[in-house]
Amino acid sequence: MDAKTLIARRCALELHDGDVVNLGIGLPTLIPNFLQPGVTITLQSENGFLGLAPLTGEPLPGLVNAGGKPCGMDPGISFFDSALSFALIRGGHVDATVLGGLQVDQDGNLANWMVPGKMVPGMGGAMDLVTGARRVIIAMEHCTRDGGAKLLKRCDLPLTAAGKVNTVVTELALFRFLDGVLTLMETAPGVTVEDIRARTEAAFVVSPECRPMPA
């Protein structure tokens, strides 16, 4: 199983029946493929609706996801304007968001919106989502392409939000912030705690209940 599939599968287990969820573009959009039987979620799309579904058949006018791509509608979809959309997000009406990350640090800070001098796309809805969603789950590969740590003592890229991350899922591990402490909860198949330490700069504790990641 490749890293992205493993991460998406594990993230899917974080979502509960009835949750309202906002998924970032890229890897998080794979997550609905791996929901457990009996788990039905409602997907919120920041551009103004609840009830996002995969595209089936021909694209409908005016219907795109947050990446601007044609999408489908669940029965019972509702449309609204951007102010209401972000009132839902900031106001605690979205149970979980799953977003990618460039860096997460041991204080729960997230950087995922810009690399000064290189990539300045804008934050879009990410700052509101990370600030307002009840559970913030970061789905990212454990290291950068050249092997550098992404779980750091302190983010050196501009932050998306300070101290808001709840859970980090990588192809090596699952961490949670428990009482503000970065805690290793699960190790991926064939991965040891030592492997994870070698590729993680952030200080973390190993939960007494640390277990293999459910496949």
């Binding site: 409908l60 951007s82 809805g125 700052m127």
Partner: protein, 221 residues
């Protein structure tokens, strides 16, 4: 009232354009952007514009063409990543870009049309967004004071209008349009159809017609 009502042509809109003006434009990734009015702005030669909207689209759609033609002095948006020329002009210092979190952008525009002096939001606390802004701590929570945004002109896209200017949108093409209808000195909506007053379901109307100064029937460009 006849279906003529508030209807004008693209040519009749053109005298409203002024160099240096500020324009609110509806749309998210160009869905909900009045492409015909953007084309008219381009054809008019108007310049030094400040554009306020969610994003500068991607090549070939949305307001990006105005950026490419160097008609824009400043952009206020949440996202420019899918229109590389906006980023290039920003990096080169050729155009000013103010990046605003999307929810904050929506609220600032809402404030501009709702008679509010600003909004308190936790979004952006502890990030570069807070630089230069007033911060308040209320009940132990830190907030940024975000100020209203208004414009000289708002250009909207709606699915249908009636002769009074009441607007109904189409799915996710609604996005920023309803707030913008309240936050500009002159509001024009490009629409797919104009029907008699009374022909739209009153419960389905999103933007009341008093907010809309002019309607243009969409044309293919």
């Amino acid at each position: 009232m006849s279906t003529q009502g508030k209807r004008i042509s693209y040519a009749e809109l053109r005298p409203r354009f002024r160099d240096g003006m500020t324009i609110l434009f509806g749309g998210f990734m160009a869905f909900g952007t009045p492409e015909g009015i953007v084309y008219e702005l381009l054809a008019s030669g108007v310049k030094d514009l400040t554009l306020i909207g969610n994003d500068t689209g991607s090549g070939g759609s949305g307001v990006g063409a105005l950026v490419e033609a160097r008609r824009v002095r400043k952009v206020i948006a949440s996202h420019i990543g899918l229109h590389p020329e906006t980023g290039r002009q920003m990096m080169a210092g050729e155009m000013e870009v103010e990046l605003v979190p999307q929810g904050t952008l929506a609220e600032r525009i809402r404030c501009g049309g709702a008679g509010l002096g600003g909004v308190l939001t936790p979004t952006g606390v502890g990030t570069v967004v807070e630089e230069g802004k007033l911060k308040l701590t209320l009940d132990g929570v830190e907030y940024l004071v975000e100020r209203p945004l208004r414009a000289d002109l708002a250009i909207l896209k709606a699915h249908r209008a009636d002769a009074k200017g009441n607007l109904v949108y189409q799915r996710a093409a609604r996005n920023f349009n309803p707030m913008m209808a309240m936050a500009a000195d002159f509001v024009v909506a490009e629409v797919g159809e104009i029907v008699e007053a009374g022909a739209l379901d009153p419960e389905a109307i999103v933007t009341p017609g008093i907010l809309v100064d002019a309607l243009i029937l969409a044309e293919e460009h």
